[in-house]
Symmetry: C2
Subunit: 509 residues, 2 copies
């Protein structure tokens, strides 16, 4: 996967957002709305029955409404990307973008909501009042330290997952990478000497998750722009930094990095120099995640430390710490067990699942994304590709199980095998297509002729159409070739009628 | 259109809401999200350009986000349907239902938001903070008189349309019916003697709109359960009722109706008896809109007053006052000119447009909904059918023009003809289907065989597919019949290849 082919320029990005319709987000009805009877069921008078059912038992809202698959992406725009406080409405393209990523990667229906206040109390009051509309809340681009208080109080007020992705998303993906870097270098996380540079939302969350996973407080040093956060420091402190003040004599980042195993940068370009990298332990683990320009460039590190394992936030270098590997699947698992929250156990389960997936051989889709150069687990592949199609069936079950085991799930999963299979189907693009075709032909029992019937994707679509009892599918193609490909994609040979088209066209060209 | 075939029972309604997925509402991406490059445009780094553009010019949020086609359907559940105050979450099926009606009838992307408070101030504070996320706000099922204050204050705080449909929707549709009833009976609205029974949200809104349209205050009497609201009455009053206190000696509904031209009931079943109906003027106009059971049944009125014009809120009698005739098209017009509000001028324009449409000959779709009994303008057809496909292109332009003329539009429409054509296309079900097919065949130049090629709907789909340059369409059908239907639907005869299928099936049943 590479962005190097051609950069994204502003004009192209603006045109993408504007044409053919403004924005990136649309809504759809998931139930038929064609006839008077449909409307009578979807609205008055049919809607009274679910209303009464929910009034009697509030949990029924998960059965009769879309809540259980809905996530709100909420911001006040006080820390948009790397651009700062540009106001709530300016953050809307980011939040819409996040919402469509939820859909694209985990089939979660997400909507953005911008809250116009920079006052944390007002923000909390507002979101707490409407939050239960949704099955979960993804907070985004809220400045620190407000974000800590906002997330904490909303978690207390709402019995649904509330997750500030800028904190925990980055923490979980980088933790997955650290697990694998330890794996490759034979390190035990309990002995890992860690330096985190950047004491904002992401930096503190990264350190907290690593500590929850076993990094010892005595081996972990947090730094900000003034240097190390040591026990007794008074300048530029707040309660969240103070919680991580380290028993160390180091006062500068350079002193902290001397002999360290692991650097995690959530700070600014150029924060790390070559001398610092040289002073680190053998096989140093360097996650330079400042965006768009890392704390130190991978090529600079490679020049002086060929033993380093390196990750960045960029898609044009190996080992991208990309949040899209996390939030879709974490929420998917949380929603599927109706979790009351996303706790440390679920985050650690997600990190471990991502790490494990990176250690497995990759499927063809990933090889294709790497232009045929199939990546293998190793220093340049410690984090899975966002286009690995196994993510959807691999990560959410781990998160869901952790939710159940830690007692925050309202609805345990009884059939884990069925659940995994259902997850894989969620991203099958044929499903939505078939629903539309079905709508168009208005009723069951129609025949649909699938041209190009030899192609595996068409075979899958035809099989799905027929097995969903939408009508009869007919594949047009040479029989032997079609059957061979049916076997290839695991569709029973005799399940679909094959016709070898002899079309007598009277006005063929 | 009739519900008489089979009633909607609770089990069916619950199953409709629960299966195959809970709820009625889903979300979709409106931009491609397939490749790394798509993601780079939709999210980081591409999203930075629209963020900066909006930060510089807040109006650009309409260009680069989905705001301009998004409506929030918001309730606190204090007056759900006829069921009362069952709480915000119990209202969710209703609000989701309303959201999908927006989509179904006007291609507006709507989401529901439930606000958990019965305190009007808290409600206003909450909605005012996030309201600008959307292009408009539809308030729903909020109890009176709170709803008056809530709507008024939100209209002041937000520069987008805020519209409490329980008030204005009913008012606009019944006003359309009143216009046509006057038309049929040769009355001038300025002389119309009106009695409105029910001084809740809808009743007061109906009376206000009728007065704005020319009904004289001296000819209009509002009644509640205690009788007429006369000047000087003190019991059971509030500021909204007081504004309509009439200079009348009548103290009961029966006294008020004596000699009245027009009754509008927004009260309870049985509020009107035969003696009252007998006492009304010649050719009385009786809108008995209590739901589900009207103030008096049409068959009871017909028995004693064959000269009456009657409307109800039910779909199984003629002249249904159905809000779905209003809100989708009013918001459509308002959104399309980026209106700052929905004002009286726009409501009156909508009522006049609906009345005018009912006076025109109906298209085939409407005749079909009436089981082939084509309705004509007259006493039993003073309000258009919700399934009249001309609504989308007929009503919004009137609303939009009224917004422009009254100075509340941010973006006037320069090409009204093009706008109307675009409106008609919005509900073309083939458009969305084609987009999906296109996505599935992954690229241009594919052939799509359209089975059942003689059917007009299929011909339209095939033509649209081809004219959107998605590939070659092939219609399977008898040539003459197919060509005849192509002419019928206005598709050039030679534009699509027709094949007469002679399928040599080797494993036909």
């Amino acid at each position: 996967m590479s962005d190097r082919t051609s950069p994204v320029d502003d004009d192209e990005a603006l045109a993408f957002h504007k044409e053919p319709t403004p924005g990136k987000l649309g809504m759809s009805a998931t139930k038929p709305m064609a006839t008077q009877r449909d409307l009578s069921l979807a609205y008055s008078p049919g809607v009274a029955a679910p209303v009464k059912a929910i009034a009697e038992d509030p949990e029924k809202v998960y059965d009769y409404t879309s809540k259980g698959n809905m996530v709100a992406v909420i911001s006040n725009g006080t820390a948009i990307l790397g651009l700062g406080d540009l106001g709530a409405m300016a953050s809307k393209p980011v939040m819409e973008g996040k919402a469509v990523l939820f859909k694209r990667f985990a089939d979660i229906d997400a909507v953005d909501i911008e809250v116009e206040t920079s006052d944390p109390d007002e923000f909390v009051d507002c979101v707490a009042r409407f939050g239960h509309t949704f099955g979960g809340i993804n907070l985004e681009d809220i400045k620190g330290p407000d974000c800590f208080m906002i997330e904490q109080r909303l978690r207390e007020k709402l019995d649904i997952p509330v997750f500030h992705d800028d904190q925990h998303g980055t923490a979980i993906i980088s933790a997955a990478g650290i697990i694998n870097a330890c794996h490759l270098t034979g390190r035990d996380i309990a002995d890992l000497k860690v330096v985190v540079n950047g004491a904002g939302a992401a930096g503190i969350a990264v350190l907290e998750l690593l500590k929850a996973m076993g990094v010892s407080a005595k081996n972990a040093i947090l730094c900000d722009s003034r240097g190390t956060i040591y026990q007794g420091r008074e300048d530029g402190m707040n309660q969240w930094k103070a919680a991580h003040a380290a028993p160390t004599d180091a006062r500068t980042l350079a002193e902290a990095l001397d002999g360290a195993d692991c650097f995690l940068g959530l700070s600014v370009a150029g924060a790390v120099d070559e001398a610092m990298v040289r002073s680190m332990a053998a096989e140093p683990i360097i996650f330079a995640m400042a965006n768009p320009d890392p704390e130190i460039r991978p090529e600079a590190v490679r020049k002086i430390r060929r033993d380093a394992i390196m990750a960045t936030g960029r898609s044009d270098y190996p080992n991208q710490v990309n949040n899209v590997l996390g939030f879709p699947y974490i929420f998917r698992g949380a929603l599927d067990v109706r979790a009351r929250t996303i706790n440390e156990e679920m985050k650690i389960a997600a990190a471990n699942a991502l790490a494990e997936l990176a250690r497995q051989d990759v499927p063809d889709e990933v090889a294709a994304a790497y232009h045929g150069q199939r990546p293998f687990f190793g220093k340049d592949y410690i984090i899975p590709s966002p286009f690995d199609p196994r993510l959807i069936s691999f990560v959410p079950p781990r998160v869901a199980k952790a939710a159940v085991d830690s007692g925050v799930a309202r609805k345990p999963i009884s059939d884990m095998g069925g659940y995994k299979a259902g997850l894989a189907r969620r991203l099958d693009p044929t499903a939505a297509l078939l629903q539309r075709i079905h709508g168009a032909v208005e009723g069951k029992g129609k025949r649909i002729v699938f041209a190009e019937g030899e192609e595996p994707s068409v075979i899958r679509a035809a099989y799905a159409f027929q097995s969903q009892d939408l009508g009869e599918a007919i594949l047009v193609g040479r029989e032997e070739q079609t059957k061979a490909n049916m076997r290839l994609v695991g569709v029973p040979e005799d399940s679909i009628r094959i016709v070898n088209a002899r079309l007598s066209s009277r006005n063929a060209h």
